[in-house]
Amino acid sequence: MRTVTFRDALREAIREEMARDERVFIMGEDIAGYGGTYAVTKGLIEEFGEKRVRDTPLAEEIFTGAGIGAALMGLRPIVEIMTINFSLLASDQIINSAAKMRYMFGGQPAVPIVFRMTVGGGAQRGAQHSQMLESFYAHIPGLKVAIPATPYDAKGMLKSAIRDPNPVLFFEHELLYNVKGEIPDEGEEYTLPLDRGDIKREGQHVTILSFSRMVHVCLQAAEDLAKEGIEAEVIDLRSVRPIDIDLILDSVKKTNRVVVAEEGWKYYGTGQGLSALIYEHGFDYLDAPIQHIAGADVPMPYSKPLERLAVPRKEDVVNAARRIVPAALVRG
């Protein structure tokens, strides 16, 4: 094993898949000469040339739609849409074309494409550049939505996404790019499924469900809880469509208590969807109401102290767990 950043892990995945399969190419804004807004694609242009590393005009709808067209013909495009905020300009192509074409054309076409984009806030980017919005796309049948939290998962899942015959949205939290983690040595090939969550920490008192950057916050919260004798099981969803409901329910059956923690807005999002699924399929296993920690229900403010209030903190997760784990249970 070796330690790399989330950013380097993503780049390795892209480079390996491009070397492996001539049909794989990448396009987007400033991915070649500039090296990528978040430097994920740095160096790829030197290695693979302009045909396979394509800078596009600043026009999300065309390069998204063109990627879909190329995928229909059997190529394996990776489309980098800089940030999820800008993907809204291309959301018609993602939702009305990529997600629906196979179904509405009776199973004839396939759309093997990956849309990579940055999500999330916390870097003082202001309201229009600090959104999660993963649930917006996770709502849509016909799409897969991957949202890893660690370099290991990011590399293995991106490689799978590129090989997947379906349209996959791949969400990278801006504040994760510099996060380091262990991945297998170079030359040690691995991929990870796009439909499985991962238990990042085992525990028996409470299940904490999370994804993306919030997984790291929850792991820190679990450390604090452990000092009080509360053993939290932290589950990283890794994908929000499809969702690994069995892994979640198995954990709920064990702990009987759930905290859902996400950075995005509370209402009508991933956390509420998850909570509803748990109530629907696991109600009898619950000993307490599900606690839902989410971002403040406001457009993201710029000012640092305000922004801190808008993004859930470790303490919020700790307090939520404390509310539903009785002291008697911990002592027992």
Partner: protein, 340 residues
């Protein structure tokens, strides 16, 4: 009457009569579709191609089988012209399992991998970026196919039109943009929607060569399309054709056409009918006799009738079809295992 050996637009008599048959087929197929819609056999939105036949026939005739066609929601005709069978198109309109899309698509979603007909798109202008990408794939893999994408005069007001022309021009992609300017985007008259009354400046702005063509004269359309295909196939990049035409029916089956006068539509139908104009050319050139037209028309009526019969006799999809074809691996459910 004597049959001349002279050719029109370099086409043989057999080719000319084939084009005439196709125009008749498109007309009769749509008339049959309208009838079945009225009978309640076809639901939803349905947009007829009647009046615009010369555009499809003139443009698609010069294409090869391995070339690709994309169109808007008014695409029954393009599907037939690219080589899809009247049966599979009509069965799709009926929502039957023998439809090209197994009845899951409907009037706006005709597709065939086999003949390279890639939709049918219900979102105005959404087919332009996709067509541009299909052309990109041909260039990427070094194939000399061209992609021809049809859209209406409303689509050019979408940003996707400009974004597509720019990228296709920038990367010299083998795509032909065909605007079927039928004068109205739904009920919006083109002169009320366009600040400039021609597409040529918009094409020029993106460095795309363009031509305006009389869309009621199939030979003029054919000649312009042939030039466009040659240009594009030779690697010189995209071309735009603005083809002026007129739809004789409403925007869709439910359109009462309040926005235009009865007289205007009647004038086009009686003096500018593309089938009538073509027949006049053929007669004047001594390339065909009235009996040829009658024979073609009778055959077209019969094929349309047979398609409707085929569609009627085809089964509706089984309930299990509801949950197939969402993902390639049929992992349709939101949750990975639990809901299966």
């Amino acid at each position: 009457m004597a049959i001349s050996n002279a050719t029109l637009a370099g086409l043989t008599r057999a080719q000319l009569l084939e084009m005439h048959y196709k125009m008749a087929l498109l007309r009769r197929f749509e008339e049959k579709s309208a009838e079945e819609y009225t009978r309640g056999k076809i639901g939803g939105f349905m947009h007829l191609y009647i009046g615009q036949e010369a555009v499809g026939v003139g443009c698609i005739t010069p294409l090869r089988r391995d070339d690709k066609v994309l169109a808007s929601y008014r695409e029954h005709g393009h599907a037939l012209l690219k080589g899809m069978t009247p049966n599979e198109v009509m069965a799709e309109l009926f929502g039957k399992v023998d439809g090209c899309s197994k009845g899951k698509g409907g009037s706006m979603h005709m597709w065939s991998n086999e003949v390279g007909m890639f939709g049918g798109n219900g979102i105005v202008a959404a087919q332009l970026p996709i067509a541009t990408g299909i052309a990109l794939a041909a260039q990427y893999e070094g194939r000399d196919e061209v992609t021809m994408v049809f859209f209406g005069d409303g689509a050019v007001d979408e940003g996707a039109f400009h974004e597509s022309l720019n990228l296709a021009s920038l990367w010299k992609l083998p795509v032909i943009f065909v605007c079927e300017n039928n004068q109205y985007s739904m009920g919006m008259a083109v002169e009320k929607a366009w600040a400039v009354d021609s597409l040529l400046p918009r094409a020029a702005a993106h460095g795309v060569p363009a031509e305006q063509v009389d869309g009621m004269d199939v030979l003029k359309v054919y000649e312009a399309a042939t030039r466009a295909v040659e240009h594009t196939r030779s690697g010189k990049g995209p071309v735009l054709l603005e083809i002026k035409t007129y739809r004789f029916r409403g925007h869709s089956m439910t359109d009462p056409t309040y926005y235009r006068t009865r007289e205007e539509a009647e004038e086009w139908r009686t003096t500018r009918d593309p089938i009538g104009i073509f027949e006049k050319h053929l007669l004047e050139a001594g390339q065909a006799a009235q009996s040829d037209f009658e024979e073609n028309d009778a055959k077209a009526i019969q094929v349309a009738e047979e398609a409707a019969e085929f569609a009627e006799n085809s089964a509706f999809p089984e309930p299990e079809e509801l949950y197939t074809d969402i993902m390639v691996d049929d992992s349709t459910a939101l949750s990975y295992r639990y809901e299966r």
